[in-house]
Amino acid sequence: MLALQLLVNGIVTGSALGVMAVSFALIYATTRVFHVAHAGVYTLGGYLAWTLVHRGVPDLPALVLAMAGCVVVGSLIQILLYGPLDRRGAAQLVVLIASLGALAVIQNLIAAVYSPDILEFPPNWAGHVFPLPGGLRLTGVQIATVVVDFIAFGLTLAFAHRTLLGKRIRAVASNPFLAEITRLEPRRVHVYVMAIASALVCLPGVLGPLDYGLQPYGGVTPLLTATIAMIAGGIGSLAGAFALAVAIVVLQNLALLVMPGEWSIGVTFAIFVVFMLLRPRGLFAGKA
């Protein structure tokens, strides 16, 4: 019973981190930017939704509007920051530092506007408890999280493999040089990717805080796990990033059966190190 509930909770939280990992992986594979400011976009989505809900906007339109806000911010980061740096041929480290700067700006602005304290959504459907077979009990937001995030992951995969834009994005990721000389316009594709990934990350960015509350600096820890999942899952593999994120969180939860909670972050890194030793290119890396 305990193990089952821990497992299911792990899958729920893991699916949220999975979508974060997938969106991060999409950006990294395509633009080669280690977009840590993604954590800021994730956080911003939650605060935007919170603001709208407090202004009386119903939950679903609030989510959609928050996603639109994230799309704008993500695209602007690409257009005003990464794009110009790329054109000037900036080193990856320079771009990473710029991204860290953007993250700091977003987080501090949020903290200045909303206070650094934890903000809570008003009591709503999210906290409603649904008893399930096997003694499982899930809250409304947990069910929403696992359903929305798995669907988002499925749609992202379908988008990447079935649509022309998805293929074009994968082409840019696969060979940016060839993309340039076949008029795939990689720079424009980078903006599309940032827009799509920002909309995607807004889903866990809103659903997570419905469960856990909002914190200006709350995006960094999930992003850390998400990047580990991306690397261990094989850079460029969206399915790998998602699967590893779920696996890591499930293991973090189950590890509690045999060790104290302080060690759960340690479990994440242990998984990472083991993976890097056994499969340095990641679990699902192509056989290039």
Binding site: A126, G127, D211
Partner: protein
């Protein structure tokens, strides 16, 4: 204050309110201002609380000075920002005491207060703490006075209540930092001393609000009580506790006094200790009008501490004694019981104050028991 002076002041207040300029009492204009200091976190992560504390002091000063100060002396407080950092606090202390020779300083956080404590003893400066609750503050310096009970005292009230209600087994969820570990240690010690048994403990990280794994593990121990010492993320915890459908009694500390949690239907049945510092609705309204903010817990605490400071000053002026740290300290034990927002008695450096046990009713909360800490 004599009743004649009182009615004169009332008349003044009315005329001031009507915009009539009346001649002030001659001695109010003549009397020199009396200045104290306050070292609070006004920037940085503690700024929200520090600002709330500052407003409590400022509001009390405005009220009192509008009434002509103390015995005609306007009262001033110089504010210094320590960002809740001990080293900054010591710098500020040296500035206020070394350069400006102020006899009394307000302080707030445990770290800065403990850093300044030895200096207060050396320089004979009275220090009033109305914000921090670390057990170490109780005996840190003969000059450091606390208007809040220590966590140990507050937890003691809860333990007494739990044992009186037949609870003999408990598990503990604590935040893995100074505040959480301190509270956990206090509870474990007091609960065991009262004959109870601790079955399990689990830590959480500050700001990490997914408590489910830890709570599930604690639930497996099947204790009668879950004692919680976390300083943030209470509403998420209430929701996650509700999800688990456990029969344990959830007990917490003052940190549970969090409006979103109280408003949450899922928080129904959670009990917690709460230092009593109630303000009348009129005072709350006046504060809001004057300061443009709600009179929160820390505003009330520092408003209350400022009433103590007024009483001490008035006492020394009446006795024609100099306003020094030594005399202020002696006056505390002479007056002994103060009547600010709550009755508060000093037999040691930490006040004996009423502590309530509140129960959340799923939307609001009610007091189900009251004890005194100490």
């Amino acid at each position: 204050m004599s009743s004649r002076a009182r009615s004169l002041l009332a008349a003044l207040a009315v005329s001031a309110a009507l915009g009539i300029s009346a001649p002030r009492p001659a001695r109010a204009a003549d009397a020199a201002p009396i200045t104290f200091g306050a070292i609070l976190p006004l920037t940085g992560p503690g700024a929200v609380i520090g600002t709330e504390q500052m407003k409590g002091i400022q509001f009390a000063l405005k009220q009192q000075n509008a009434k002509g100060g103390i015995d005609g002396h306007p009262i001033r407080v110089v504010f210094e920002d320590d960002q809740a950092k001990p080293d900054q606090a010591v710098l500020a202390f040296n500035k206020l005491v070394g350069l400006q020779h102020l006899p009394m300083i307000y302080t707030a956080y445990s770290g800065p207060s403990l850093a300044m404590a030895p200096l207060t003893a050396r320089k004979h400066v009275l220090m009033l703490n109305a914000g921090a609750q670390s057990d170490k503050l109780a005996h840190a310096s003969p000059y450091l006075f606390n208007t809040l009970p220590t966590t140990a005292d507050e937890v003691g009230v809860m333990v007494k209540y739990l044992r009186a209600h037949g609870k003999s087994t408990s598990v503990v969820l604590y935040e893995n930092d100074a505040a959480g570990i301190g509270g956990r240690d206090d509870f474990v010690r007091e609960f065991k001393a009262a004959g109870g048994k601790i079955l399990a403990q689990e830590p959480t990280q500050f700001g990490q609000t997914d408590y489910r794994p830890a709570l599930l593990k604690l639930a497996a121990a099947k204790a009668q009580v879950l004692f919680v010492v976390t300083t943030a993320g209470q509403k998420s915890m209430a929701d996650q506790l509700h999800q688990m459908n456990q029969t344990w009694l959830v007990a917490g500390t003052t940190f549970m006094e969090d409006p979103p949690t109280i408003a949450d239907p899922n928080a129904k049945g959670i009990i917690h200790t709460q230092v009593v510092a109630n303000a009348s609705p009129e005072l709350m309204a006046a504060f809001k009008k004057e300061m443009g903010a709600e009179m929160g817990f820390f505003s009330r605490q520092y408003y209350n501490a400022t009433q103590i400071m007024f009483a001490l000053t008035e006492h020394l002026l009446k006795e024609h004694k100099a306003i020094t740290g030594e005399n202020l300290r002696a006056a505390i034990f002479q007056i002994k019981t103060f009547h600010g927002l709550v009755p508060m008695t000093f037999t040691t450096n930490t006040a004996v104050v009423p502590v309530a046990i509140n129960e959340m009713t799923g939307g609001s909360e009610k007091t189900i028991a009251t004890g005194t800490a100490h």
